[in-house]
Amino acid sequence: MTFTPRVGVYICHCGINIAATVDVAAVAEFAALLPGVVTSQAYTYMCSDPGQALIKKDILELGVNRVVVASCSPRLHEPTFRATIAEVGLNPYCFEMANIREQCSWVHPAGAASTLKAMQLVASAVAKATHLEPLEVRQVPVIPAGLVIGGGIAGLQAALDIGDAGFQAILVERSAQLGGHASLIHRTFPTNEPVQDFLNPLIERVINHPRVTVMTSAEVTDVGGYVGNFRIQISQGELSKEVKVGVIVVATGYETFDARLKPEFGYGKYPQVITTLDFERLAAAGFIFEGGAPKQVAFIQCVGSRDQVLGNPYCSRICCMVTAKQAQLVRQQFPEAQVNVFYMDVRAYGKHFEDYYDRTREDGVLYRRGNPAEIIRRGDRVVVRAEDTLLGEPIEVEADLVVLAVGMVPRADTEAVAGLLKLARSGDGFFMEAHPKLRPVETAMAGVFLAGGCQGPKDMSEAVTQARAAASAAMIPLMRGQVTVEAATSFVDEELCAGCGQCAQVCAFSALELHPVRGVMAVNPVLCQGCGACATACPSGAINVHHFTFEQVMAQIDVLSEIDDRLFLKQVTEALPVIVG
């Protein structure tokens, strides 16, 4: 029995989003004339329950076996309609979407031309729909374990959560100690609580956890596999071992800005000039200042942040409050000291931050607006040269101690880690999340999640928040026990393939390998994300992508040239003289 496509076409008004610009009734009438279409109708909101019911009814009663919805972006509602048709037994891949909102009504004025474009988009979708094939949606089992890379506060928390939830967690830390940057911090803002008081118990819990394996002085050297089934190579000293996990949380942290890159501040040259990180170390040791009490202490904000010359245009977020904290500590330890904070803007955005900033000023810390230009030497002291922009005057402030509020920068090995895990980086150099609003802890790589300073500057509470979010997101596949893999993957025509391997070179997911026996390329359908790069790279046209085959895509294009064809136009013109005329 040969297959006959029976296409149902549904044109969505999207309220007035589409209907105010495109003549949706005319598009529906036009679509009814297209080959293979058995029903075509327009409706106010196709994504609503009644809208979806229309589709289900036609599948059951009219024998519709291919569905086209002309509405918004497939990013928004393709999953909705795929689920709709699956409910009544149609394969979800027998669905095609025409985006007549973002690609038409939202970007064009109302009128005949916009309606004609909507018709073209629909005709194209219908042409593809008639060639659509059902695809098998596959599930693969998930190894119930998570790898956490990085033993700072974010990595510790993520490993703990995964372990507490009942899964195995492997925490790999490059250095010999756990705790990361947090272990270098004396007290935290906005509570002035000693960091060790909560960090050490966290470390203890992780180390003693029955389901968390901690590997210090260890490094991830290779990552293979895919979500649910990652193979991780870890080297620890002389030893090298492979572990298998279902998910990965990347919590590799950050570096503090190297203040020597601002030579005008003389860091490393003047002993009076230190960084906020140096301050923490000195404060923890109990001697912020050597040799009596400092009379004048200056803090300089935004060192290495908000600076386009250095290529660090972003705000490092923590420095305003770090400085407020340290200024308070100076005033507490040396009540006679005059403390000046040089700033551009004070960003007290977090919970209790504004109170904290208020308290700092009430403690007698003087905020002076203007970011210093340079520090020079004068006798035993240094001189901060700046403009007090509120006075509108250049000023020189002598100081016994100057603290540079250094920002957070991506680790020097970010690129290497990105290569290992195939992670993207955002413009600031940190790892990039999958979506800034809706998928803030996921990456474009399925099964790989981000936590802490490796994704961008953040304070401890934000790092822990993100760590717990990443652990939760990572545990979704662990709890389900299986993951759905993309069905629209590439496949190789073994008759045409010469095994040249050019496809494997362009594949970002390492999904193609030369078959050891057959001498042709083989696709690992679990790794393949269906991007299609291999299909364009293949010199002999041997690779196709399911759901985007040459046949399907060419049908989409061919029908557009047919619309220009006089005959076809005549057909349209006769049916809809108002629109095209």
Binding site: C302, Q308, N371, A373, R377, A386, P394, I395
Partner: protein
């Protein structure tokens, strides 16, 4: 009233990027002693609406174009170029200091801002044997106006010739055919005259098929390198050529200079072009030289106040001279020689030493002058 179209000006100079942090003014060597306040000036232009009146803003002529402001700006704004552009508005109306007028006219007529006759430009050579570039040579030695005419700086030009010839550099000069580079003309705001000179000089260089050029002055070097349209010509400062020769072991000395030397970074070599190490390399190659650093060195070097046309203008506060402050800083290091590599720095610092009556304590010399003593 001298109005500029402030909206257009803001757009052309990208002033909306300014976040009013004050780094420009805080680092400006002139802001401490005159009314010049780049941050405030930008703010006033931003809020001016349609037109901004620069009438009476004499402080615009104080700027030495030392580049400290824009090298520190975190938002890549260039206050220095904004000041130069505002000067243009004065120049267009002919409202300039008589000395500036003289310098501009002299450049137009004689090819130098020093009111010296064009035909005397090649006389600095004296009894040295130097090829004319028309005979063909690998490098054009572009001498520049001040080294060509000023008796004090002519010595530097001659020293450079000896050093170059001694290290096997094949050079030629243009003699009286050489023309002003226009660097100071552009910075005085006379953009039209500057563009005319660019055209003339490019034609000349093209007809002489010049591929490599080196200069005495960092100002000429910067103009050819950054202000002229790119044409594939390699432009170097003479200290770069010598540092390269030193690196190859081709800069050889038979004698030495047993002196403690401190080096003053000229703005147009250092802050403008990031050349901090080459001059120091040459100094360290000279046997006997003990190099000590001032606190304000490299990126923090203090301007001598000779740039931006200030060689011909006193500015609004002639009482305190940056060059005098600079000589004091050099004296603090205990150095016997204050070395530099710029004709303007050489002259301003030399004068400051005289003002401070410090001739018996410190001597201002160009690096080439020190090196030639050790040949």
């Amino acid at each position: 009233m001298l109005q500029i179209d402030s909206r257009q000006f803001v757009k052309e100079h990208g002033l909306f990027a300014c976040i009013q942090c004050g780094k420009c003014t805080g680092g400006c060597p002139m802001a401490m002693k005159t009314q010049l306040n780049p941050r405030n000036l930008i703010y006033r232009i931003l809020v001016a609406g349609n037109g901004f009146d620069i009438e009476g803003r004499e402080e615009l002529w104080d700027c030495t174009t030392c580049a400290t402001c824009y090298s520190r700006c975190p938002k890549l704004v260039n206050p220095m170029e904004a000041v130069i552009a505002l000067r243009s508005a004065f120049v267009e109306k002919g409202r300039v200091h008589p000395n500036v007028k003289t310098a501009l006219e002299s450049t137009f007529r004689q090819g130098n801002p020093l009111t010296m006759p064009r035909e005397d430009r090649g006389l600095w050579v004296g009894d040295l044997q130097v090829k004319n570039i028309s005979e063909g040579a690998e490098y054009l030695f572009y001498v520049g106006c001040t080294p060509s005419y000023d008796p004090r700086v002519q010595k530097v030009a001659r020293a450079i010739v000896q050093l170059m010839q001694g290290s096997g550099v094949d050079l030629g000069v243009m003699g009286s055919d050489e023309n002003c580079c226009g660097s100071e003309i552009r910075r005085l705001g006379e953009q039209g005259l500057f563009e005319m000179m660019v055209e003339e000089n490019r034609e000349t260089f093209k007809s002489l098929a010049i591929h490599h050029i080196f200069t005495v002055s960092p100002h000429c070097f910067n103009a050819f390198k950054n202000d002229y349209p790119k044409n594939g010509m390699q432009v170097q400062h003479y200290t770069q050529v010598l540092a390269d020769k030193a690196g190859r072991g081709e800069l050889k000395f038979s004698g030495g200079v047993d002196k403690t030397v401190t080096y003053h970074d000229p703005c147009y070599l250092g802050k403008h072009n990031g050349i901090f190490d080459d001059p120091r390399t040459v100094l360290k190659t000279i046997p006997g030289v003990k190099l000590v650093e001032m606190d304000r060195s490299r990126e923090k070097s203090l301007c001598c106040e000779g740039g931006g046309g200030r060689m011909w203008m006193e500015g609004t506060n002639p009482g305190t001279r940056l060059a005098q402050q600079r000589v004091q800083e050099a004296l603090d290091t205990g150095a016997e020689i204050l070395a530099t590599a710029c004709p303007f720095c050489l002259l301003t610092l030399d004068e400051a030493v005289k003002h401070l009556n410090a001739q018996d304590r410190i001597q201002v010399m160009d690096i080439a002058e020190i090196a030639v003593q050790a040949l």
